[in-house]
Symmetry: C2
């Protein structure tokens, strides 16, 4: 489904390339923008911070939740605070005197929304706001800066005396990340049938320990060639020790020809050989492989213990995965 | 400082031993009470759940906070939700149809406060509430059950239409844990001088890595013979890997005769020998030791690599701690 507001904003985001108009008279705002644009890996770190915030509030390990729509109202409110905390830690931001942050010596307030608009409190008037908005369903987010003026806000106030950003206000935002990629929420991207198969994989088990393992096995069986992070494993396993669940899944799935690659040993090297996403610490990628002869040069292969493996395709034999890799 | 309300409640808590009066006409409430009182290690697990909730919302690793008074309003509100989530996971409680939990087939709502009273929403009327209250400063908490009736609530409503429990309401609570011990928040118990010495121990360091280690060393140097948990180390170190910080502190403090005992190897055995609190997984206890002769029978000793050690006392030599234990 198309999101009209978001699309319109993307067009407005071209503002960032031509800082004309009121910005010329706001060197402080420009200094804050400059500070952000100079941060190494800004987009990746900002997106990872939002991902981590959402995952912590979902608390999948304890609740089994993976969909932000299931959060209670108090949790949605708190999510903004968690984003503020994680961004402060990630970018080592100072605390402001009156506002959340001190950035390039300027007071900056942090506002985050998973909805259509931001709600701005009266105290923020005349202050610079860092505005971030994320859609977990679309795996994207954007972040920008705006100095709040009354003409940028809609007239109506909510019960807390907060006002939403007007169309003029949204157009005036200087986007530092106009179209950021949010790390994928894998469980949200699956069909309900796939999810049911994973979450019900434990139905035959009495002990929750074995159940968590069965669900983890099914996750890696069904979600291949895509990065699966620690939080997804915790949400599926509902247990503490995600690396242990993954190590055991590696053993259980070997007979099905499935390898699970992490960030250790030769794993990143194997992932690169096969053209798979390369796992960082705390993420994994599963792949079904088949032994191939070296002469089969049309396919990407990787060599493990003297044998060549390619990603399994129709017509390949049903091989077991390598025992050690 | 004495807490009048809390003390009065403790007197009322004797109710639990004589379930007379309205309770006789409320077998459902009695079944919920019975369910809780049958849970193994109820008090320890309930207290640990509250401890964990407070620590997660403080988020000491990222914020350096250890005092609940520093929480923002949205965080204090969210704390109640976190307690609800962690209690549900710890006691494997089902979800209610209308209320938070289903316990012994009955609908039960979860209400937690760090203040003087609970705020009860209109929807809870006629429903059973699990009421918990904690004081991190006093390291205690209590939990009880009450079926909400209008006469148990004060007349005034807050902005959200919620009402506080009246004196009659508080007297009617059936306490399942009238005087629970909350695992200690070590940093909160230290004098501001001690805390400053720990948090400023990194002042000489440029890199935050070394700084976190210096602060961890100072923590274990200053807080001896008391359990220090993982969260306290994370709050002081402001880093991810608390076990690594502790292992390194063990090396750094050896020259000062300080041992750091965890839950592995002979550590719990050594702790018991010396009459120290015995660490579980994720907690440690530091102790300064001195070599003693076996004939010094008045003191508790432990034998490590053929030598006998006691807790250091005035008059003992300045020994180094054992290299391996």
């Amino acid at each position: 489904m198309e999101d009209a507001l978001f699309s319109r904003d993307v067009a407005a985001a071209n503002n960032i390339a031509r800082p004309t108009g009121p910005l010329e008279e706001d060197p402080n705002l420009q200094e804050v923008i400059n500070w952000f644009t100079k941060q190494p890996e800004l987009e990746r770190r900002f997106g990872q911070s939002i991902r981590q915030s959402i995952d912590e509030v979902l608390d999948g390990q304890r609740t089994g939740r993976f969909n932000i729509d299931e959060l209670e109202k108090t949790e949605k409110t708190y999510l903004g605070t968690k984003v503020e905390i994680i961004l402060r830690a990630e970018f080592r931001l100072g605390r402001g005197r009156d506002m959340d942050y001190s950035i390039a010596t300027h007071e900056v307030d942090s506002k985050f929304t998973i909805g259509e608009n931001w709600t701005i409190p009266g105290e923020a008037d005349q202050h610079i706001c860092l505005l971030a908005r994320a859609s977990d369903h679309k795996a994207n987010y954007r972040a920008g800066l705006l100095r709040i003026h009354s003409e940028f806000l809609n007239a109506g106030k909510n019960r807390d005396g907060k006002r939403t950003l007007s169309t003029a206000g949204r157009s005036a935002v200087r986007w530092i990340i106009p179209d950021g990629k949010l790390p994928e929420n894998i469980l949200l991207t699956l069909s309900s049938e796939e999810r049911a198969a994973i979450f019900n994989a434990s139905a035959g088990h009495r002990s929750s320990g074995n159940g968590g393992q069965s669900r983890t096995n099914e996750l890696f069986r069904r979600v291949q060639e895509r990065l699966i992070n620690r939080n997804t494993v915790l949400t599926v396993a509902r247990q503490d020790d995600s690396p242990k669940r993954v190590r055991d899944a590696r053993i259980h799935l070997r007979g099905d020809g499935i390898m699970i690659l992490g960030h250790m040993k030769q794993h990143p090297h194997i992932a690169r050989d096969l053209g798979l996403p390369v796992p960082d610490k705390g993420s994994w990628v599963a792949v079904r492989v088949a032994e191939v002869t070296a002469s089969d040069s049309a396919r990407r292969t990787t060599r493990i213990s003297g044998k060549d493996y390619a990603i399994w395709q129709k017509g390949d034999r049903d091989d077991v995965a390598p025992a050690e890799y």
